[in-house]
């Protein structure tokens, strides 16, 4: 089950919200747990026992680290064992997905009527497991560093790691930022309303923008080699940049909206990344929870460890961080190359060049960022390194004598399709803060403006109905970041 399936939108969410809002406060955390467990049972019934066993073991590992810490003994072994447990499971499962073992999955259950699609694969990655394991690593390190104490209440702990709004695409929220509301989810009518609004905006980004663009550009990336003119390659790449942001930030909006409805605040994952003036700034604004995790739990400890070595350059830590960022997305070579590519650019910006860049004309800084971000998305989206190389050649007019197929053979509909252009316009408006800046310039407070409130309410209602109509007619498409 995905947030964009009719079963979630029309049954699961309304039922969960209705029960959550009517039960007394002290029962709300139980409803959240029941909903999260039900979500897993419906989405991946064969992993239900796995998730329960994994959660209990993770819980006791946290308690173990805390126990050793409190006795004053060294916690290194307990911390390393706990982290190896998390990383080992993550790597093992990712490896099984990429290179499926010869033996069949003995617990395979096919319940297509519940999940909305057939489970023909033997090996399916557990929902949100990459996000969960990183949260657990931050949890263990924070316990070891005496930043937090281990959670004692198993209900609060299960609600932290299995909270269903976070399961599909994160955010990777550290436990220290979640403690306050886990024990007492606080739902109010304005908060529920804000949550519903945010959810619908996310749904629109995903279904009406990202999926519409995906229908158009996916066929290009499904070719063995890119049959593209130079202008077509740039067009497809720019569309992908719009699709990726709207897809991922759409899921984040839906997650934050669901969290608000259930009285638990989730962190923001995006802050208008495409307005950045450098790759470094871009990565402070893009997938904030992942870059924050690597900053706090890998980059800073590495830099601290080697701070006295004059010969240790900061670029080494940056490259390590982005190598792991690439590996987090998958073991395929193009993800590794993508991580190293981004790390190299950010490492370059950490030299004196970075200061020079800051002093140049602002449009040049934006162009610098956009160029390298787009170049990095080629590696990220391509099915392999050879494809990426040929895509680069197409971008710079070096594709040579490659037969260029007409779009009619590589795309499902022509570029004159109205829905595509509407999706592009909406996608750009969601990608750059045009409306907030316009409101600021005109000194209009949109949250206080009654006319805007009515218009936006009607608009959101229309978007919700239209999105459900699109999902019903075309079927839901899984999110890009759901696969990680």
């Amino acid at each position: 089950m995905d947030y964009t399936t009719p079963s979630f939108l029309l049954i699961f969410l309304p039922a969960t919200l209705a029960v959550f809002l009517v039960v007394p406060s002290k029962l709300k955390r139980w409803i959240i747990l029941a909903a999260s467990l039900a979500f897993i049972v419906i989405a991946q019934p064969f992993y239900f026992v796995f998730f329960i066993a994994y959660s209990l073991l993770s819980y006791f590992l946290g308690r173990w680290i805390e126990h050793i810490r409190n006795t004053g003994a060294k916690t290194n072994v307990a911390l390393i064992v706990s982290i190896l447990f998390q990383v080992g499971l993550l790597v093992g499962l990712k490896y099984c997905i990429q290179f499926p073992p010869a033996f069949p999955n003995p617990l395979k259950l096919d319940l297509p009527f519940l999940v909305g699609k057939s489970l023909e694969q033997d090996w399916v990655f557990p929902l949100g497991f990459s996000y969960i394991t990183f949260q657990m690593i931050s949890y263990y390190v924070d316990i070891e560093n005496e930043v937090i104490d281990a959670e004692r209440n198993i209900i609060h702990f299960l609600n932290y790691i299995l909270f269903f709004p976070k399961l599909i695409s994160g955010p990777i929220q550290p436990y220290k930022d979640s403690i306050a509301e886990l024990s007492n989810p606080c739902a109010t009518i304005p908060r529920t309303e804000a949550g519903i609004r945010r959810f619908i905006v996310g749904l629109a980004k995903k279904v009406l923008v990202a999926d519409t663009i995906a229908n158009y550009i996916n066929p290009v990336f499904n070719q063995t080699i890119p049959y593209l003119h130079t202008h077509q390659a740039w067009f497809v790449l720019i569309l992908y940049a719009i699709q990726l942001l709207n897809d991922f930030s759409g899921y984040t909006d839906m997650a934050i909206g669901l969290g608000e409805m259930l009285g638990i605040k989730l962190m923001e994952n995006f802050n208008w990344p495409y307005v950045s003036k450098s790759m470094t700034e871009f990565w402070r604004r893009w997938h904030i929870s992942l870059s924050g995790f690597f900053r706090d739990y890998l980059f800073t400890p590495l830099q601290f460890r080697f701070r006295k070595m004059k010969t240790y350059p900061v670029q080494a830590s940056i490259l390590v961080v982005f190598l792991f960022t690439g590996l987090w997305h998958g073991f395929e070579m193009h993800y590794i190359a993508w991580g190293l590519f981004v790390g190299a650019i950010i490492g370059f910006e950490a030299t004196k060049f970075g200061k020079l860049l800051k002093e140049t004309w602002r449009p040049i800084q934006h162009l610098w960022m956009l160029f390298w971000v787009l170049m990095s998305w080629v590696l990220f989206r391509s099915p392999g390194l050879m494809f990426a190389l040929k895509f680069y050649k197409s971008l710079f007019g070096l594709q040579g004598v490659v037969e260029v197929l007409p779009f009619s053979q590589t795309a499902p509909f022509p570029v004159t399709e109205t829905s595509l252009w509407l999706a592009i316009i909406a996608g750009v408006l969601f990608a750059v803060p045009v409306i907030p800046r316009l409101a600021k310039t005109l000194k209009v407070d949109l949250s206080e403006n009654k006319f805007w409130q009515v218009i936006s309410f009607i608009g959101l209602l229309f978007i919700l109905v239209y999105s459900i109509g699109v999902i019903a007619s075309k079927g839901p498409m899984p999110g890009i970041y759901g696969q990680f």
Partner: protein, 75 residues
């Protein structure tokens, strides 16, 4: 050694002669205080006060006040 000495380290690290930090100041309040300059700052504080921080201590710093209290505990 008082708080003004710590303030001088901030001014030198961030190359801002007019910078004034308080115990409540956080990384969000100082232009250029990012993950890279953070470690440069830690090293500069260690050098100026002749002390050494542990990884656990550094991970717990949330404000300049946290940093200053840790410095005081080592003097």
């Amino acid at each position: 050694m008082d708080f003004s000495t710590l303030n001088e380290v901030f001014q030198e690290t961030f190359d801002q002669p007019d910078l004034q930090v308080t115990p409540e100041t956080t990384a969000n309040d100082v232009v250029g205080w990012d993950s890279i300059t953070h470690i440069l700052l830690i090293s500069a504080v260690e050098l100026r006060f002749g002390i050494e921080f542990s990884r656990k201590e550094v991970m717990k710093f949330q404000t300049v006040g946290d940093l200053w209290n840790c410095v005081l505990s080592k003097l």
